[in-house]
């Protein structure tokens, strides 16, 4: 394909992503404004202990957040502020939200990255192996294992792991030590349980997808052709089958970002006390600190958006059949 075609395609995808981002932001704005309690109420709930005159506070907050202005103006300001990185002020921590995010995102990133590495590497291996060995005992065990992994609630798994390995056996600390530097070896030990907690469900999912994608391609005629050419089995599987199976697998793994990873990471951080974005958002909820909650939701959506974009582009690059125009 022509180079210009690819560039145009990427530009088009970017424009589309922008459109979706716009939609996402708009929905959060609507959610905020039509709510039964206004942001000022939430603020008030938070500050009530310290205020004498609620009416005064509400007026002040409204003026500060522009809530007295017409709705379209508020919407416009909301967009402009988001774009400028002015994501509001966290009530409970007395920090700009962006500052809070900057301090804590790395913990989430670390957990998610390690879990995904753990889940996809093991998951793909088991899945492919069990597809190749279909109808054998190995396949049967792998299938049962993946069903178990998918069905086990990860927050419960986390608690069970803490109970057994931290409380009963005392091998790990029950709480994540924030003093440890991120991405260090010492930290790795502290992250073993959280990574298993977040990674097990994902791994089971990946096992199943890898198995079914491999099976789909194992029965194709071109595999028979490859065998008829006399190619050894490891090339038949490693080259002909995998190169085709990998496309749907990538999509699924990326798609996991939205559903499994964020929900799972949120809970895992809370259980293990890892000070990532999930924990921050959780604390903010009980402090009625709405700018933080909203911003973290938006960040989640934007990460999903970017991964989808990346998946699209990787896909076109891996699959010669896709045309960019």
């Amino acid at each position: 394909m022509k180079r210009g075609g690819l560039q145009n395609y990427i530009i088009r995808r970017l424009l589309y992503a922008f459109l979706i981002a716009f939609g996402v932001v708009t929905i959060t704005f609507i959610l905020l404004r039509i709510g039964p309690s206004s942001p000022a109420d939430k603020y008030l709930a938070n500050m009530s202990a310290r205020t004498q005159d609620p009416a005064k506070v509400i007026a002040a907050v409204e003026a500060r957040y522009g809530l007295d202005k017409p709705i379209y103006e508020q919407y416009f300001n909301y967009l402009v502020n988001l774009a400028r990185g002015d994501w509001g002020w966290s009530f409970s921590t007395s920090l700009p939200v962006i500052e809070l995010i900057k301090r804590h995102w790395i913990y989430s990133f670390q957990l998610i990255l390690l879990s995904m590495l753990f889940a996809s590497s093991l998951g793909l291996l088991i899945g492919i192996y069990s597809a190749v060995k279909q109808y054998t005992k190995v396949d049967y065990i792998a299938t049962l294992f993946s069903f178990t992994g998918i069905s086990i609630p990860n927050f419960w798994l986390g608690i069970m792991l803490i109970m057994v390995f931290s409380v009963w056996l005392g091998w790990f600390k029950t709480y994540y030590d924030t003093g440890l530097p991120v991405f260090s070896l010492a930290n790795l030990k502290a992250l073993i349980l959280p990574v298993i907690t977040l990674g097990t469900g994902m791994m089971a999912g990946h096992t199943r997808y890898a198995r079914s994608a491999t099976l789909d391609n194992l029965r194709k005629d071109f595999v028979k052709t490859a065998r008829a050419k006399g190619l050894p089995e490891y090339i038949v599987i490693g080259k002909h089958v995998l190169r085709n199976a990998i496309l749907p697998i990538i999509t699924i793994i990326m798609f996991d970002m939205a559903g499994v990873v964020f929900g799972g990471a949120y809970l895992t951080e809370i259980i293990f006390g890892i000070p990532g974005l999930g924990q921050i958002s959780f604390n903010a909820i009980f402090a009625n600190d709405y700018p933080v909650v909203i911003t973290i939701t938006l960040i989640g959506a934007m990460v999903v958006l970017l991964t989808n974009l990346a998946t699209d582009i990787v896909y076109t690059w891996l699959d010669p059949r896709i045309r960019y125009d």
Partner: protein, 364 residues
């Protein structure tokens, strides 16, 4: 040949519409004239139960031959049958259980932290007379076969109550989500053009939100009654269904039998209701079965982090409480987790079996 009459005398749609009108009338009466004729839950069942009976169960009965065929195919999956058995057991527990167990909210501090039958545990009790901690060994009793929590509430009763809550949430939220997804998917595929474009762009936007984060945000902003949580899960969880139904409908539309029906002079309405929707239903049933566990987990997670409805005893809530006493009473956290796990597993087994049974390509 099917007797087009059947037990409804060929007037299925008419009878259904009539029932719905009556329901609407009662609802309006409830809303504006009398207060609280029925609970919101009751309305829910009054709407969905006839819907399922008329358009879900009745076709199964009318097309017994086909039902048998698919049942035979599903039956070949031993795990699916086990899953179905467990689900039927859960439904029985949910319906009958509350009459047989104690009140799950009954507090009894004398019997707090009792272990399940057959287990024993060491409890430290503060002795008022001596001012010392006395360690005693407590045994599980048949009065509380599953043990009690830190307030002495009966865990069996709490789990039974949780079963009811979980199934209710799973079923209802899934029904709402599937209902919306089905309509959006079919409409989008069948009308095409700008309608399709607009609906799919909206779906894309909704799909961009990580499901759980959106759920947390909405519940945080708007409150957390059980009723509301069901509604929110239903109103946000339809996106996947819509996408899948749309693409299935698109592929069905190119099949010759739709063209054949058109060439017989069938109206659009007939094609949609007699050909497209019945054929999409197999996919929808699979999606529904597989999304129930997701919904149950989402609610449990919400309750677990303390955003659930605090007035109902759900599994997530028990788990939340159990997390604090891992070292003193492990069973409080273990038991609801096992229930959750087995329930989700059962639905996954069943869904997988049904999917294979419906898949014409699978050689089973």
């Amino acid at each position: 040949m099917r007797r087009t009459g059947g037990i409804f005398g060929g007037r299925r749609n008419l009878i259904f519409s009539g029932l719905m009108l009556v329901l609407l009338f009662i609802f309006l009466l409830d809303l504006f004239v009398v207060d609280r004729i029925f609970e919101p839950f009751t309305y829910f069942y009054l709407f969905f139960a006839p819907l399922i009976i008329f358009y879900g169960v009745y076709p199964l009965y009318a097309n017994r031959r086909l039902t048998r065929y698919y049942w035979d195919r599903t039956k070949r999956h031993r795990l699916a049958v086990i899953g179905l058995g467990f689900i039927i057991f859960l439904v029985a527990v949910a319906i009958l259980g509350p009459f047989l167990t104690q009140d799950p909210t009954q507090v009894d501090f004398k019997n707090k932290n009792l272990p399940p039958v057959g287990f024993s545990s060491e409890q430290s009790i503060f002795d008022r007379n001596t001012g010392q901690l006395i360690t005693t060994e407590t045994q599980g009793t048949w009065r509380h076969p599953f043990g009690t929590d830190d307030k002495g509430r009966d865990l069996l009763a709490m789990l039974v109550s949780g079963t009811r809550i979980s199934l209710q949430i799973g079923l209802m939220a899934t029904l709402i989500a599937i209902f919306i997804g089905l309509i959006i998917g079919v409409v989008s595929a069948y009308l095409g053009g700008w309608v399709d474009n607009a609906l799919m762009r909206f779906t894309d936007i909704m799909m961009t939100f990580p499901f759980f984060l959106l759920l947390v945000l909405i519940v945080f902003l708007y409150g957390s009654s059980l009723w509301f949580i069901i509604l929110v899960i239903g109103l946000t969880g339809w996106t996947g269904t819509a996408r899948l139904v749309r693409s299935e409908t698109l592929s069905l539309r190119t099949r010759d039998f739709i063209m054949a029906s058109k060439s017989l002079g069938a109206s659009d309405r007939r094609i949609v209701f007699r050909h497209l929707i019945p054929n999409v239903m197999s996919l929808v049933i699979v999606i529904a079965t597989l999304s129930i566990p997701g919904v149950i987990l989402a609610e449990a997670a919400l309750s677990f982090i303390g955003l659930g409805d605090p007035t109902v005893t759900s599994w997530g809530l028990v788990l939340h409480a159990g997390q604090r006493s891992l070292d003193t009473a492990w069973w409080i956290a273990v038991e609801p987790g096992i229930m959750l796990f087995l329930t989700v597993l059962a639905f996954n087994f069943l869904g997988d079996g049904i999917r294979d049974a419906f898949d014409p390509r699978s050689q089973i």
